[in-house]
Amino acid sequence: MRLQGKAWKFGDNISTDHIAPGRLFHLRSNLPELAKHVLEDADPEFASKVQPGDFVVAGNNFGLGSSREHAPTIIKMAGVSAVLAKSFARIFFRNAINVGLPVLICDTDKISAGDELEVDLSSGKIYNKTQDIVLQAPPLPDVMIRLLADGGLAAHVAKHGDLKID
């Protein structure tokens, strides 16, 4: 699967409080409304200007903090095609796969804000068209590839009636 879009740059330690803050706790059962505020506390313009297909590109430890799955869900709902970061917090990474938001680990110093990117999910190749360089993300663990292929964890369980990861 090939994804194309523009890079939105963020720094290190973007927390789930930046992505889906506690002051909007009451919108958690109204995800379309919550998605209008995605990443608002890290970049107030992001939610209104992001285009379908664009990428969130961040530094280390993206998604640290709370287990709130609403965070990767509203990034996906905002039209973001994938999150690229130097590293991810554990729960966010697992949640992203569960909700079908691709997450790739790569050297994001080689991507600047506004760069045009092309990502091939099956190979993990990230082509920075603007800078004409190719970055390589390590492959996802097999279990996560399987869950993504089924459309996320809930779809996987609905399909198999069980966890079928081996």
């Binding site: 927390s15 506690g22 287990s67």
Partner: protein, 423 residues
């Protein structure tokens, strides 16, 4: 090579020896959600037609984050959780019972149990040698319905702690010091195993503080071997029969061994806006505080309230400071009333709120104004955490919080503690 505590618990639970790096499917003994994550879990189960629980007696829907509800949308979320509990037979822990992780420690956690929770601080129960970890709503929802989940068995960092804590220094200072050392992602995906003579001598309420904050270094679990302290704690909760000894093998294979001597440790604080921005309190002393929050799954236990009460007894909270106290559970609240701590705190000017998460997640009960500063005994100081991205949050011990409430500025607790009560 022998097994780490994480490998041992998971090996026993799956019935064969498993090692770090393996992907396993494992039975789940306890599953929990809270009111910020439970509604999505319920919706996911409804969506795939699996509104059921494999173990309803140990599946708990906690209402603690926005409790009592400050908004109609959240009141409706609470209704959804109550209806799901009624329909499936799952346990409901309603408004006023307390913070999920404290209640899991009191009523459910025991050595060798596997616990998953849709809350990142589920790792708190690792203090009782339970493999307890936080996950998202869908993971926990599937765990509730199927009674199992998948894990990658984590590698372990052994945190070997020696020395006697100096007066005025406690487990909160130790875990902040460790997170400052490791960094907010220094232990991503790892198990932290706390061991050594200091941990062996440490009471359960402090062990729970250590395990609670393992996730703030990125860890999956924070584990402590079970021992006499564990047995006595379980007995005090009427669950002595659930005790069993569980520890790592002496020749376990650790990815890293980190030695910490606490004999020179000082009171510490995490400064805005990350938990690894850690400094000795004395370096930050004098910073004005507008609010102090004593409570949470990190430090809302009876002993924490006792320390705060001892510092504030017969005195007044500084003018212009809001001192918010939230006991972590109903049991703690009642005991604190009986022992006079609540009267002491209220007389000193504190605001005591119903057991629960209080202001911790920024939804109610202590939202900051623009530019305001709060010193919390909780576990996160991310930008926006107290409901306002223009607020500033410091994290510290109950002693540091009470001392700062007293003076109105960040204060090293040793400056206001009587020698007799310092330890």
């Amino acid at each position: 090579m022998g097994l780490t505590l994480a490998e041992k618990i998971l090996s026993q639970r799956v019935g064969r020896e498993v090692r770090a790096g393996e992907i396993i499917v494992c039975e789940v003994d306890v599953a929990l959600t809270q009111d910020g994550t439970g509604p999505l879990a319920v919706q996911q189960l409804r969506k795939i037609g699996m509104e059921k629980a494999a173990r309803p007696e140990s599946t708990i829907l906690f209402i603690d984050h926005a409790a009592p509800s400050p908004r109609k949308e959240l009141s409706n979320d609470h209704i959804l959780l109550r209806e799901f509990a009624q329909k499936t037979g799952c346990r409901l822990s309603d408004v006023g019972e307390g913070v999920c992780h404290q209640l899991v420690a009191e009523d459910y956690a025991a050595p060798g149990k596997v616990i998953i929770g849709a809350d990142s601080h589920t790792c708190t129960a690792g203090a009782l040698a339970a493999f307890a970890t936080g996950m998202g709503s869908t993971d926990v929802a599937m765990g509730i319905a199927l009674g199992k989940t998948w894990f990658r068995v984590p590698e372990t960092f052994l945190i070997e702690v020696t020395g006697k804590m100096p007066p005025g220094v406690c487990a909160k200072d130790l875990i902040l010091h460790l997170i400052g050392m490791l960094g907010a992602d220094g232990a991503t995906y790892k198990a932290l195993e706390f061991a050594g003579e200091t941990i062996a001598a440490m009471p359960m309420h402090e062990r729970l503080t250590l395990a609670n904050m393992a996730v703030e270094a990125g860890a999956k679990v924070g584990l402590i071997a079970s021992d006499e302290v564990t047995r006595e704690y379980l007995e005090s909760q009427g669950r002595g029969a659930e005790y069993r000894p569980l520890s790592a093998d002496p020749d376990a294979d650790y990815e890293r061994v980190i030695a910490v001597d606490v004999s020179q440790l000082e009171p510490m604080l995490a400064a805005p806006h990350t938990v690894d921005n850690v400094h000795p309190v004395k370096e930050l002393a004098g910073t004005k505080v507008d609010q102090v929050f004593i409570g949470s799954c990190t430090n809302g236990r009876l002993e924490d309230l006792a320390v705060a009460a001892s510092i504030l007894k017969g005195k007044r909270v500084a003018s212009g400071v809001r001192c918010i106290v939230v006991p972590a559970s109903r049991r703690i609240f009642l005991e604190a009333i009986r022992l006079g701590y609540i009267e002491t705190l209220v007389a000193a000017g504190a605001v005591v709120l119903a057991p629960g998460c209080g202001p911790c997640v920024g939804v109610h009960e202590g939202v900051l104004g623009d530019g305001e500063v709060s010193l919390n005994t909780s576990n996160r100081n991310f930008q926006g955490r107290l409901g306002n991205p223009k607020g500033f949050i410091y994290l510290g011990s109950p002693a540091a919080a009470a001392a700062s409430a007293l003076t109105g500025v960040i204060t090293d607790p040793r400056e206001v503690m009587d020698n007799a009560i310092a330890r």
